[in-house]
Every structure is written in structure tokens, then in C-alpha cells.
Symmetry: C2
Subunit: 201 residues, 2 copies
DNA sequence: GACATTAACGAACGATCGTTCTATAAATGC
DNA sequence: GCATTTATAGAACGATCGTTCGTTAATGTC
């Protein structure tokens, strides 16, 4: 990795954790230059525009999400076990990745949902991909015989995301120490409702 | 209402719908002055600081939420009927109130969850109050005999908020036309799981 | 209708924003 | 080790930010 790529990545690391606190829209080249001990212009040259930097942060977030949440979970066998692994990794990916200020992706989703442009498009693309991954994973859990054949994977994925979002908010804003426990409880209820009743009398 | 209060309210109306699009943090006095056809300084005088204006917007949001979502629902009898009314009003309160860019409160929650200060405190206060209202309403549904006595109102309210949040995101960012339907489906599943089985064979 | 009060304006402030340009320093390829 | 490309710094730009100040216009009161 050449020198250029190296500092670019260092900047991105800093931008990533900063965005976690102030949001992707709240990023400032001046502050970022200060934190990385670079000049504004030197830092700027790596991206060409602020928007390009913001896009890079969003892409970085998606990549880390895939690495930290999805990839390890896919080592679990298809079915509910894999789904549960996703939920568990998901719930503490803000600790795993360097996200002191909470989930960048969720924050960006709320921030750009009504501001057309490349940033919104990027967030949208990422969330659509995530939704599809979830739907597929649920569908495979049906195929594997863990969930009932009449399960609606879209509905299941929809509810999964809701559980994650409220957990995030409860933990960060309401300081609810039970947020993770409640999220897992909700997940279990979801699974139980759609589970194949293997041992009914 | 004197002239002062009158224009203050007009500014607040404009700020409210603007914040819906760009977020409470994205509000700008210059742009707001432009939209209301006032001078920056004239507008500024009504609030004394930008932060005070932002706080006023947050309080306005909470007040409208109580009026549009909660108050009408409380005309329903205690129990699941009232809960359902809350969910229905909640799901389209962004249409009812003047919120072209989505739920201000949720956006602010994501925006300020890691930025200590009066704004975060205000958002937090509002969401805690909402949570308490939901918990109480669920508890009353238990008392009324609609939900099983072992229902955990906190858990129920937790899941309700998740349903709302994912519905909001799905609708606004993913352009999912089925978001509301899925949210109601999730709500029904929630109710069914905790419902007293009145007519079991 | 004169007077006190309040609301609104216009100009300017210092700070910061993203961005551009030119020049120097460092890294790279031979 | 030299030449060339690449990375960084520094200064400056125009724009916008929130805020302050002094003045004028409008409102409310007796």
C-alpha cells in the first residue's frame, strides 16, 4: 500500500469515528484536518470534495458492517442459528467497529432520508442490500425447516430491523441497560411465532 | 395573541417543517429568515440564540405529537382499541402534522444521541415521556383484560417503538409502499401473542 | 393623538465553511 | 543518485454561519 492509500485510510478511520458522533453531515474538513494533524488542503486533496469524503465514509461503514456483522454469522449453519448470530453481532457492532457515537448507518438514514443526492442514494443502496441479505437468510431458514413454510421473509426481516433500531435508540438515548436483553426477547418471540412446532403433543 | 407571539409562531411553523427535511441541527437562521421574508436579526431577536430556536422546535414537535397522536387515541376505551388507535395515528402523524421530511423527533434522536447538551436532554425527555405513556397504556390494556396478566408492559412498549421506527425508515428511504401494512401486521402479531385467549376450545 | 414599548431592519463582526492555487517536500521508479 | 511523479503545506478566496449593535418602524396604552 503506497503512502497515499495509507494516509487516505488513516483519514477515513478518523472520519469514521467522528461521523459516529456528529453524523456524516456534521463532518468538517477543518476539524478532521486538526484531528489528523494535517493541513486542510492536504487532506482535501485525497478526496476532491467533501461529498466524496462523506461517500467514502458511508462505503467504509458498509464494508465494516459486512465484515463485523455478516461475515462471521455466515459461518453458522443456515437457519435460525445464522439469524441469531446476525442479531447478536448486529447488537454490538458499534462496540466491535470503532463507533463511539452509535451506528453511523442508522444515523445517516435518518439524516438523508429526505435530501436527494448521492449521499441518500448510497445510504439507500446499503440498506436495500442489508434488507435483501436478511430476507435471503430468513428464506433459507424456511428451506432448512426451522421456520414454517408460510413464513413471509420480507415481514420477518422488516421486524428484525425494527428490533435493532429501537434497541439502538433505547441504549444510546434512554440509557436503558436492558435494551439488548429486550431486543433478544423480541427476536425470540419472532422466531417462536414462525417456528415449526417440532414437538407438539 | 400580540404581534410578537404571532410572528414567533409563524417562524416556528416554518422552522418545524424545515427541520423535518434538514434536521434540527441543520436549521440555519439565514435560510429561515429568507423563507419567512424577515431579516436575520429580526428573526433572531425572537429566540436569542440558535439553540433556543432549536429547543423551541423540539418542544413544538412534542406538543403537536401529543395533540395529533395521543389525544385523539385517548378518546378510545382503555385496552387494545386505544393501543391500536395510537399506532394508527402514529403511523401517519407525519402527514397529519406538517412534516414533509419525516418524523422530526426520530431524526433528532439519531442526531443528538451522542452530543451532550440541552438539545439531547430535550429529545431524551420527550422520548422518555412517550415511552411512559406507551407503558401505561399497555398496563391499562392488561387491567382491562385485553392482554394477559403476565404481559411485560415495558417489553411491549419497546417493541411498539421498533415497529414505528422501521416503518418510518422503510417508507421514507426504501420507498416501501407496504411499510404501513407490515407495521400493522407486526402490531397484530404483538397483540395476538399477549392477548387473553377468550375463546379457546 | 402623544407617548412608551416593542418589533423589525440593515450593516457589520469574527469565525468557520469548502475550495482553489502555487510552491515545497517526500516518495517512487530507473 | 537523479528525475519524475505524488503528497502535503500554506495562503487566500468567496460564502455563509451565528451574533451584536444602533436605528427606524410599527404597535399598544393612556
Amino acid at each position: 500500500m503506497g503512502k497515499g492509500e495509507q494516509t487516505r485510510q488513516a483519514i477515513l478511520d478518523e472520519a469514521f469515528s467522528l461521523a459516529s458522533c456528529v453524523g456524516v453531515g456534521g463532518l468538517s474538513i477543518g476539524i478532521l484536518a486538526e484531528r489528523t494533524k494535517m493541513s486542510k488542503s492536504g487532506l482535501f486533496a485525497h478526496f476532491g470534495s467533501k461529498e466524496e469524503l462523506q461517500l467514502a465514509v458511508l462505503r467504509e461503514a458498509q464494508q465494516r458492517f459486512a465484515e463485523v456483522v455478516l461475515r462471521p454469522a455466515f459461518r453458522q449453519p443456515r437457519g435460525v442459528a445464522r439469524l441469531r448470530a446476525i442479531v447478536l453481532n448486529w447488537l454490538d457492532w458499534t462496540r466491535e467497529a470503532n463507533l463511539p457515537g452509535g451506528c453511523v448507518i442508522n444515523a445517516a438514514a435518518a439524516e438523508f432520508d429526505d435530501q436527494p443526492g448521492p449521499l441518500r442514494d448510497e445510504v439507500r443502496r446499503g440498506l436495500i442490500a442489508l434488507r435483501r441479505t436478511l430476507v435471503d437468510t430468513v428464506a433459507k431458514a424456511v428451506e432448512a425447516g426451522d421456520l414454517r413454510p408460510d413464513t413471509d421473509p420480507e415481514q420477518f426481516a422488516f421486524e428484525l430491523e425494527g428490533i435493532y433500531q429501537v434497541a439502538q435508540q433505547s441504549r444510546r438515548l434512554l440509557n436503558d441497560p436492558d435494551a439488548d436483553r429486550r431486543a433478544l426477547f423480541a427476536f425470540d418471540r419472532l422466531v417462536r411465532d414462525y417456528a415449526v412446532e417440532r414437538d407438539k403433543e
